[in-house]
Symmetry: C2
Subunit: 173 residues, 2 copies
C-alpha cells in the first residue's frame, strides 16, 4: 500500500513551537487545550499573527522542530511493509524548503529523499492513503483520507481519525 | 485535463547553462549536438562531473536559467483550458528549492504556487499527462507520458514525443 504522510502536526510538533514562540513573545498562556476547535490565528490579534507568519516565512523555525511521540519508531516499522511518502506544503513559506528537507533526513533517514514531496495541493498525490491533520488537504486527496488529531480539527467528523502514532500503528500494522 | 510539466529541460534550458559553465571552466566546445544520445556526464571526465554537481548543489545556478522557446506563451494558453502542475525534482540539489521556486514565480506568475510540486519520484503524481525529458520519470508515472526532446533522449522510442512548445501547443490546443 502507498501511504502519504503529512509533516507538520503529524511527524513534527509544529504547534508546540508556535505556541511557545507566541507565549514567549507576547506573554500569552496558550496551550493545545486553549486553542482547540479553531485555527491558531483565531486566538491571537492579527498583528501577532502577521508577526508569526513573518517568522515562519524565514524558515529557520522549521530547522529544529520536536518530533510527535512515537513517530520515528512507528514510521520505520510501517516503511518495512508499505511504500511511504512524506508530503508537505512549503509553498507558503519558501524559506522552509531546506530546513524541512534536512529535518526529515535527520529524523527519518530510512525514508529516501525521492519519497519526499513538497506540494501545496495534495490532490496531486497518487496514493492509497493520506494521513494529514488538515481537512482541506484530505478533501482534495483522491484516495482514503485519515485525519490526524490536532487542536484545530477536533470538531471535524468526516474522516477516519487517528489520535497519535499508536493509532496509526494499529491501523496499518 | 490535468497536465504535469517538468521544469529542467522543458520549461528551463538547464542544459545550455551547464554546457556554458563546462566550456568556460574547462575549455570544452560542448554543444547540444556534441552531447546527443547520452548523459551529459558521459561526455566529460568524472572529476569535472563532480565539480559540476557541486556547483548545482549550491543552487544559485538555478536562479537565472534561460527559458525554453515559447514556453511562457504556450503554457499560459494551456493553463486557460487545463489544470497545470509543475513537477520538478530538487532532492538531489536541496539548495535549488528556493531558486527554482522563485524562478517559476517570476516567469510563470499565472501558475499558482500550490500547483508547484517538488518530487524525486514522479510516480507519486496523480495527473492525466506528464511532459518530461527523462524517460525514467515517464516510466514511473501512471498516466500518459509525453517525452520532451532533449539531447540525451533522442534515441528513446517508447513515448509520444514533442520537440518543443509548438508541438505541445498543437497536441493540447
Amino acid at each position: 500500500m502507498r501511504i502519504a504522510i503529512d509533516m507538520d502536526e503529524v511527524l513534527a510538533d509544529t504547534m508546540a513551537v508556535q505556541l511557545k514562540w507566541l507565549n514567549d513573545q507576547y506573554g500569552h498562556r496558550l496551550t493545545p487545550e486553549t486553542v482547540r476547535g479553531g485555527d491558531l490565528y483565531d486566538f491571537i490579534p492579527p498583528r501577532q499573527g502577521s508577526h508569526l507568519m513573518e517568522v515562519l516565512r524565514q524558515g529557520d523555525f522549521f530547522a529544529d522542530l520536536p518530533l510527535m511521540d512515537h513517530s520515528q519508531t512507528v514510521l520505520e516499522r510501517l516503511a518495512e511493509k508499505h511504500e511511504i511518502f512524506i508530503a508537505t506544503a512549503a509553498m507558503e513559506f519558501p524559506g522552509s524548503f531546506g530546513p524541512k528537507f534536512r529535518w526529515l533526513a535527520r529524523h527519518f533517514p530510512f525514508i529516501d529523499s525521492s519519497r519526499i514531496v513538497f506540494c501545496g495541493d495534495k490532490g496531486i498525490l497518487s496514493a492509497d492513503v493520506l494521513i494529514d491533520d488538515t481537512p482541506r488537504n484530505l478533501a482534495r486527496f483522491e484516495g482514503h483520507g485519515v485525519l490526524f488529531t490536532a487542536p484545530h480539527n477536533v470538531n471535524v467528523t468526516e474522516y477516519a481519525r487517528v489520535s497519535g502514532w499508536h493509532d496509526i500503528d494499529a491501523m496499518f500494522a
